[in-house]
Subunit: 206 residues, 2 copies
């Protein structure tokens, strides 16, 4: 019987990602973030005039259920609207890894946990926003000289188990890759492209 996950005979080394069962993690609630989660074009425009190109980061956190990868996404509790990856805007001068760790703490760290260590791994993709709308592209569109925002995605290797704690106005969901694939209508282009971006990894189901 052929091992389906075998490496191509003479190919470059394939990267491995370790996925643990969703049951290894607990999902609790902490105080609401009171943050606005929607893009507000007028506010984005004012910030752009102050600070220029906005740098954002997001983390791709994976678990498995019955040996199929699931991605952790956030959604508002109130109206079950759009989905997004944990992350957000960097502070001026802040680095990607520093900012992503701070955002993951905000969104996911238990308040009882003193310190956090997020194992931020590979750079997966970049999305560019040419204007203050939700439109985004994985390249700078031709004739766009001043994109307004750049979103960098990173793979985050989760520990074998941990306790997540999510602001009460948000919920954290583990969505199977087969559900987000080809489903930009429901999950948006950033999340729906994850199955393809992750297909180059050898998945180690633990």
């Amino acid at each position: 019987v052929e091992n389906l996950e075998e490496l191509p005979i003479d190919a470059p080394a394939q990267k491995t990602v370790n996925l643990y069962k969703v049951d290894n993690y607990t999902f609790g609630t902490k105080q609401a973030s009171q943050k606005q989660h929607e893009r507000n074009p007028q506010r984005l425009k004012e910030k752009y005039q102050e600070r220029g190109l906005r740098h954002s980061v997001a983390g791709v956190l994976l678990v498995h259920h019955h040996r199929h990868p699931h991605v952790l996404v956030l959604q508002r509790t109130k109206d079950a609207g759009s989905f997004w990856l944990p992350g957000g805007r960097l502070r001026p001068g802040e680095g990607d890894l520093e900012g992503l760790s701070r955002k993951l703490d905000n969104r996911l760290k238990s308040p009882s946990q003193e310190r956090s260590h997020w194992e931020v791994g590979d750079f997966l993709a970049t999305w560019w926003y040419p204007d203050f709308s939700d439109n985004r592209y994985p390249y700078i569109p031709p004739h766009v000289t001043k994109p307004k925002e750049k979103l960098n995605l990173y793979l985050v290797q989760l520990p074998e188990s941990c306790a997540f704690s999510v602001p009460s106005d948000l919920q954290l969901l583990a969505i199977p890759l087969f559900q987000v694939f080809n489903n930009a209508e429901q999950y948006g282009e950033v999340i729906s492209s994850l199955p393809t971006l992750l297909s180059r990894y050898h998945v180690n189901y633990l």
Copy 2:
């Protein structure tokens, strides 16, 4: 003025891909390949019963025009139907890199050129075919235990210039990334997902 292409301050090193102008390359014609380019479910089924999982490879060859990346794709000359990346099925026991080089020779090498050297680089993505239709997924769908075909995509770094020679029943086209993005209807899912897969590279326009 901020350099848009700058690296994130503390991020892992970003990979670079060198793109040369499309005008650096010439595109000629050689004898028709007489091969069947469409997927034939009955024939695929027979082959599967003989040989098991079919291993295929394809190359992502990039050029630029006015500093926007373009991908080289093939199309039948006759009826201008579907598009595909240069590549094809491996022989039994053949490695990915060996097979991809052979296929790139078949499709693109000038007959006057004695030897070829294709610089096959990063592994970009895998697509799985659970049956003998055109359906494919960047993961093995749950409950599929015997996928029928696995397609591995590799980035191929082109030389600064060269003479391509294409079988006369095919044409080679350089399609801008902005045209294939979100355009699975025209280009298929494999090609339309390339902009997102390539967004993690720093592009060096030469």
